[in-house]
Amino acid sequence: MITVNHYIALSAVLFVIGVVGVLTRRNIIIVMMSIEIMLNAANLLLVTFARQSGDMTGHVFVFMVMAVAAAEAARGACDHPRVVQEPRDGGY
């Protein structure tokens, strides 16, 4: 029987992986991907609690998180080539 605790545990593990990735890697793209892992861990938790409480507000929040992540990725995608072209600000 799957309980909410299973999902909380999984979400925590994923979040920790994301944190470790941000703190240990220096490649800015991998750092951004680690942030995506953390966002996804939060999304999983939101969906789980939405399901547990029977309230779909969590889904709406996940939707917003996805919109923010998409905006961030779009910004990052055009930012990275500029950072790499001028490496003195330590981006890469």
Partner: protein, 165 residues
């Protein structure tokens, strides 16, 4: 059946996320992360969040990761071998400490209260239900999100243009 699926998808997502932050080449880590997104989409679908599962594949695995992969491939052209230097040791210490701090509640989770799922109401998580919520109660955040995306779009265009006429 459910527990088997959870173990499979959850284990796979953790393994792929680990692969994403460990692997040396950015392309490999991007591929691993796409796998993680897929597994999470499966987990969303297991919790009756059908729209969110489809959006997870469409937005995360389809669009965001594709953008990352695109950037990595463009940068790969002038990638130097071993370009990545190690962080300072205290960063790694901080990583270990923060990971440990987050694992404390995880360990105590087993001893705590066990929250069980209720039976989902019919129509839970479908496109119609979530859409209705989005367009009634949460219309303002929804519009703000759309403005945010528009701002990101315009910003991206301006950032990449070297000369603006």
């Amino acid at each position: 059946m459910e527990i088997l699926m959870f173990n499979l998808l959850g284990g796979l997502s953790v393994a792929l996320a680990l692969g994403a932050i460990i692997s040396k080449r950015p392309v490999n880590s991007a591929i691993n992360l796409i796998g993680t997104m897929f597994c999470l989409a499966g987990l969303f679908a297991m919790q009756d969040a059908h729209l969110i599962a489809a959006l997870q594949v469409l937005v995360y695995a389809g669009a965001i990761m594709a953008l990352f992969l695109f950037v990595i491939m463009l940068l790969n052209v002038r990638e130097k071998v071993g370009a990545e230097s190690r962080r300072q040791p205290y960063w790694q210490l901080l990583a270990v400490v923060s990971a440990g701090a987050l694992f404390v509640p995880l360990v105590t989770l087993g001893g705590g209260k066990i929250l069980k799922f209720k039976e989902a109401a019919s129509g839970f998580g479908t496109t119609a239900a979530v859409g209705r919520l989005l367009y009634t109660d949460y219309i303002l955040p929804f519009e703000i999100a759309s403005v945010l995306l528009l701002a990101a779009l315009v910003g991206a265009v301006i950032l990449t243009k070297t000369k603006i006429r």
